[in-house]
Structures are given as structure tokens and as C-alpha cells.
Symmetry: C2
Subunit: 226 residues, 2 copies
């Protein structure tokens, strides 16, 4: 049987999983909104980000109350502090999904993404959603191998991001500056979203092992890194 | 006289101020590197970000040790938890300064910023540096009015960001796609840097009042928001 204290810790864990599922769904729907120029879906993503924000506030209040009342030490303290960090990652991921949806709304009724980049953006969106689904699983399973796998999976996002820039910088680019700006920002949103999913997984590794995975720094984009 | 416990809290506060000063200097130097195409300065900004990262790790370890050993409640607990969040803001600001410097390095020996945007980017860089200097002051003074002023000052960053996009999307833009991509990313880095400085100030408001300033969400860019 769980005591009230551990029940509260479980509630915090459940909140994290719920946030991860919401933002995973949000990035998937935002991608649909962007590629199909679907205004209704875009609006629903933008509206649902408030739910993510309120979940984060609730989770933070619970965590701080737990710190104050129960004064956990050792592993339990690590769980609470790490949960605060994960919730910040997830809240920010929700913002990024909202940014994608806002761009879809801004360019409606046309798609912000030209046809020759649809498949690249689709793959970025699907990968982002999949990484977040795996992060949610890892929060529950606390499986280190699965957590480490996320970082390897994220390499594909970096490849896609590079491919996006190569396409943009190709002399045959015909879509003008506005579309280039849109695609640049969208690429950055997906890349950062994926970074946050990886960060959540790395925090699970820290939780379980007590050791920080290598400090997470965003992968260099083709423009940042030579 | 301060006891050992409050001395430790002071040490954490000093660490935050040092981080804020380092990243404020970094964004100023990164702007110089970018506008003057100065490779040495770019390299120094990139190298100095490691110092910021190690300060953050040190500060986090101190904060967690303090939570475990001293089990603070009420105001002291709020200080420790909020310090952890501020250090995350400052670490991320350092990353953004490094991104600007990496772009300067990538385009060396030419400047990534065309002449007709130098003054806009210069003002964004100076404003970013000033906002962070004010954030550092507010960490020390805990002055609510000064903290609230940062958000007002940040409005100017949004104006500059809009001006940047207007210039990019003007039909007379002659600098091609690569430069448009560079300028888009650089604009985003400065805007996010400023958001983090404002976030630090808002966390000071929370520390002092116990009330969250409105949840900080990045200002919509001209492309995100209609």
C-alpha cells in the first residue's frame, strides 16, 4: 500500500505523463494543420496549449507543497526537483507546437510549406510526435536503455533539419523570402521540440542513476555549426 | 551575522548574478563578432559558454544539497526553487549568445548581417545586453518596480523584431535566401535571449511577492502572430 506521500509523488508523475501526451498530440495536430492548411485544427492546438500551461502550474504547486511539507531527501528529493525541470521542458514543447499552429493559421488558406518540402516537414512532425510519445513511456517505465535510445533517434531530426536548409539554400529555390523565413522558423521549432523530448528522457536517466547525462545542448543547425 | 545556512543562500544568489553578468557580456561580444565579422571575439564567446554551464551545474548542486540538508520551508524554499529556475534561464541565454557567435564564425570573413540591417541588429544586441544587466541588478536589489520595468523595455525588442521581418519581406530585399535565413535565426536568438532576461526578473517578482507574474510566454513574432 502506498502512503499519502508516495501517492502525491505518483500524482506528480501522472501529471508529467499527461503533459507529455498532450504536447505530443499537439505537435502531431499542428503538423497536420500546417501541411493541410487546416484552420480548425490550428485553432484547436492553440487553444489546447492553455491546458498544458495549467497542468504545469498545478504540478509545480504540488511539487513545492510536497517539498515544504514532507521535506524529502535523497531519491525522493531528486524526483521532485527533476519533475519540476521536466514540466518546464514539456510546457516549452507545448509553446513550440503552438508556434507551428500559429504559423498555419497566419498563412491560411494556403499552406506555409511548399509542396517540395511537405515530406520533409511531415517526417519532422511525425518524428517529433514519436520522440515525445517515447519520452512519456520512459517517464513511466524508467527504462534507461529506452531513454538513451531517444538521443540516437534525435540524430534523424538533425539530418532532416540539415536537409531542410540544403533545400532552402539550393539555387533552384523558387518560393521567395517569406516562405524561406517560415520554413526556417518551423524547422527550428521542430528541432527544439525534439530537444526537449530528449531532455525529458535524459532527466529520467538522472533520476534513476543519479548521474547527469551529458549536458543537453541543442544540436547545431547547419547555419550555426560549420 | 549570517549563519552558515544563509551564507549558502547568499552564495547561490552570487552565482546567479555572476551567470547573468557572463551571459550579458557574451551577447554584447557576440553582437560585435557578428557585425564586425570578428573571428577572435566569436571564438571567445563560444569558449566562455562553458564557464556559464559549469557555474550552472555548481549552483544546482548547491541548491539541491541545501534542500536535502536544511529542508527549508516558506520563503527560503521559494528562494531555492526559484534560483534553480533562474539558473536554467541564464544557462539557456548563454546558449543563445553562443549561437549568435557561431553564426559569426560560420560566415567569417564576411558579416552575416547586411549593411542595411546593421543598426537594427546592433540595437537588438545592445538591448539584449542591457536587459540582462538590469536582470542582474534586480537579482541583487529585489526591486519590484525595476523588475516590472524589464517587461516594458522588452516591448522595444518586439518592435525591432517586427522591423527586421518587415525588412526581410520587403520586395526590395536583395540579399538572397541564405542571408534571409541567417537574419531570421539571429532575430529569433535575440528575442529569446530577451525573453529569458524578462523571465529572470519575473521570477524575482515571484520571490518577493509569492505571486507569479503572468506566465511568461515568448512574444509572438510577426510570422507567428497575425
Amino acid at each position: 500500500m502506498r502512503d499519502a506521500y508516495h501517492e502525491e509523488l505518483d500524482t506528480i508523475g501522472d501529471g508529467l505523463v499527461e503533459m507529455a501526451r498532450l504536447v505530443g498530440s499537439a505537435i502531431g495536430r499542428a503538423t497536420t494543420a500546417l501541411l493541410d492548411a487546416d484552420l480548425n485544427i490550428a485553432e484547436s492546438v492553440i487553444a489546447s496549449d492553455e491546458k498544458v500551461d495549467s497542468l504545469q502550474r498545478e504540478l509545480e504547486n504540488r511539487a513545492i507543497t510536497l517539498l515544504a511539507r514532507q521535506q524529502p531527501v535523497a531519491t525522493d528529493l531528486r524526483i521532485v526537483v527533476t519533475s519540476l525541470r521536466m514540466s518546464a521542458d514539456l510546457e516549452r514543447s507545448g509553446d513550440l507546437a503552438r508556434h507551428v499552429a500559429k504559423l498555419a493559421r497566419l498563412r491560411f488558406p494556403v499552406s506555409a510549406v511548399p509542396n517540395d518540402l511537405h515530406s520533409t516537414i511531415l517526417e519532422m512532425g511525425q518524428l517529433a510526435q514519436r520522440l515525445m510519445a517515447k519520452a512519456a513511456e520512459v517517464i513511466v517505465s524508467k527504462d534507461i536503455d529506452d531513454a538513451m535510445q531517444l538521443e540516437a533517434d534525435d540524430d534523424r531530426m538533425d539530418e532532416l533539419h540539415r536537409a531542410l536548409f540544403q533545400h532552402l539554400l539550393d539555387d533552384r529555390w523558387k518560393h521567395g523570402i517569406e516562405t524561406a523565413v517560415d520554413v526556417t522558423l518551423v524547422g527550428r521549432y521542430y528541432e527544439r521540440f525534439a530537444d526537449h523530448a530528449v531532455s525529458v528522457a535524459k532527466r529520467v536517466i538522472y533520476l534513476v542513476t543519479g548521474e547527469h547525462a551529458d549536458e543537453l545542448s541543442p544540436a547545431p543547425t547547419p547555419v550555426e555549426g560549420a
